[in-house]
């Protein structure tokens, strides 16, 4: 188990088949900020003509869109790389928590290069501190960007 993964609901090591996996679970609204580790997932989402592709400019925008979609009756998922988790602190603490909104996070957990190392170390603890357990971690294998 990696340092970031102690409290994960689910840990995957490949994004292949992940989109279909979440579709089968009823998720019907996908928005996020890309990660190279999520490429198969994002390609499958982009290929689904029943979905509007939503290129969010930042993770908090994606999470707020997901919250709005949830209030409109959808089951939303937000995808991001771990480097963007900090942007979610505000909407998790002051939007999702007080209003009781559920959004699943698919987080690509980056380890390398160096700029990802510290967030990798604290990702699990940060989510635990936020009392947020509705997420899936995608462990890094080969990510270049």
């Amino acid at each position: 188990m990696t340092p970031g993964a102690e409290s994960a609901r689910a840990v995957h090591t490949s994004a292949v088949g992940l989109y279909e996996h979440f579709r089968r679970q009823g998720y019907d609204f996908f928005v996020g900020v890309p990660c190279s580790g999520l490429t198969p997932f994002i390609n499958d989402l982009g290929a689904d003509i029943s979905m509007t592709f939503l290129p969010a400019p930042r993770e908090d925008v994606a999470l707020a869109m997901a919250a709005g979609a949830a209030m409109g009756g959808r089951k939303p998922l937000v995808y991001l790389q771990s480097s963007g988790l900090g942007h979610l602190v505000n909407p998790i603490t002051s939007l999702l928590k007080p209003y009781g909104l559920a959004v699943h996070l698919l987080i690509s957990l980056r380890r390398q290069p160096f700029e990802h190392a510290f967030m990798h170390k604290i990702t699990g603890r940060l989510l635990e501190l936020l009392e947020y357990d509705d997420y899936t971690l995608l462990e890094e294998r080969q990510c270049d960007v």
């Binding site: 400019p57 925008v61 999470l63 869109m65 979609a69 209030m71 409109g72 009781g100």
Partner: protein, 159 residues
């Protein structure tokens, strides 16, 4: 025009519109002039009113969605205005009450004077209002969970 009067004039025209109001005094003054189940008072998460409205407008293309924003909040998430322009959702209107200040926190200046929001966003309507707040504006008394459930029930009623 005072912000309260501007909100009153806008709100009087709403019937089935789903309204997402930004944090601070804009939500509180909307509550004062016209509380309705179709209002979502976004207390907190400054900058998120427009993306919430976009998600709602995407989920409910049969409903008109109005985002009632402030210049400070719009500036905080300018990227979401660009996404709104990219998506061009016909059922979404973005109203920005622009007083050039963070009025709710004591009228500290924003940089809105150098920004043309209409050039960045989509279906943007900028309403210039005076800085300052009305005295004795109450806080929104609802439990946030109950208010959200009331809003969701309103989104499910046929328009």
């Amino acid at each position: 025009m005072r912000r309260l009067e501007a909100i009153r004039k806008l709100a009087v025209g709403w019937s089935h519109e789903l309204v997402v109001a930004t944090t601070g005094m804009i939500s509180r003054e909307l509550y004062v002039v016209r509380d309705r189940p179709e209002n979502f008072y976004m207390c907190g998460s400054m900058g998120c009113a427009l993306p919430i409205g976009m998600g709602l407008a995407l989920a409910r293309p049969d409903r008109k969605v109005v985002v009632l924003d402030g210049d400070g909040a719009a500036l905080m998430s300018l990227g979401s205005l660009a996404l709104a322009r990219y998506l061009r959702l016909a059922n979404l209107e973005h109203i920005i009450l622009d007083n050039g200040t963070y009025a709710s926190t004591g009228n500290q200046p924003t940089c809105s004077a150098v920004v043309n929001f209409k050039d960045i966003g989509f279906n943007v309507r900028v309403v210039r209002v005076e800085p300052g707040n009305e005295p004795d504006t109450p806080r929104i008394p609802y439990d946030p969970l109950e208010m959200r459930r009331r809003f969701e029930a309103a989104t499910r009623r046929p328009a």
